[in-house]
Symmetry: C2
Subunit: 189 residues, 2 copies
Amino acid sequence: MDTDPKVFVISGPSGAGKGTLTEILLKRVPSLARSVSATTRKPRPGEVDGVDYYFLTKEEFKKHIEDNDFLEWAVVHDNYYGTLRSMVDKELAVGRDVVMVIDVQGAANVKNKMPDAVTIFVEPPSMEELVKRLKLRNTESEAELARRLKNAEAEMMLAKNYDYVVINDDVDRAAGELVSIVEAEKIKN
Amino acid sequence: MDTDPKVFVISGPSGAGKGTLTEILLKRVPSLARSVSATTRKPRPGEVDGVDYYFLTKEEFKKHIEDNDFLEWAVVHDNYYGTLRSMVDKELAVGRDVVMVIDVQGAANVKNKMPDAVTIFVEPPSMEELVKRLKLRNTESEAELARRLKNAEAEMMLAKNYDYVVINDDVDRAAGELVSIVEAEKIKN
């Protein structure tokens, strides 16, 4: 039986609900470690280094890029964000499974560098529902909303590249499916 | 997403508890169809054709063997037992997932003929526990018990050939793992 710790990559379009589902998954399977991202943006009040993010200077971040220490990274609004392979390896080394929530581009990069990672695509029940959810966030301008929807449409076509697809039409059921995936993968040969 | 119905083969040594676990699985996932075996033995009082077994004559059984209509079959105490592919296909055709409980030789034959079948090995927690369980059955002679234990030891080494391994040290947990496997496989790409 394969008892090696595993990496679970939870991805999907913005607004699909991957963050909420992962919070529930982490509560229901407390043995899972959540991967902490690195960023060059300044900490907001209350944010703790190593808990919310690893806060790095641009120089430090670029050094990690050069050292090929990122499983994935991207620039958003002039700030760098990424997942440090060394931090993931540290959890795996002590036998903990790692969960990361990540956009579809990042997920593809992680799968490339870690082919054994289990990838899960979270799909909104419909584009109509996705619009509703993104509008509810209230943080999006009309232009930003339109951009996210266009992205989501393209991203939905990537679901077939993932190991599993969870349709988030019912949060409880969808979170239960995440738990089942983790549980089944742990006893997979 | 792969929404095709699937075949789940639950196997393992005699006494591992595969029958009990499958009963619980079927109660918790009522959409599953349990595969009904064919046999040439006479029906016992109360047994219903098509529910407990498909009761066939030896001639009918042999005809199905010739027609290559068995996913697996074996002779036990002069009676034939087997799983009819046509009956499994009938359930799959109406969209139902099929579960079969089967010995390790039969399981290997099914996987051979249906490579997409999901195979699950149920392992007793220890050989000591297996002895205890087989003795509790009270139906075994000493010689039969010794034979089953020797078989079990050999069969345990086959676990690595299965898609999943469930260790039956706690019936509730083990049954929960079966449910998780079925649920995860249903949303697998």
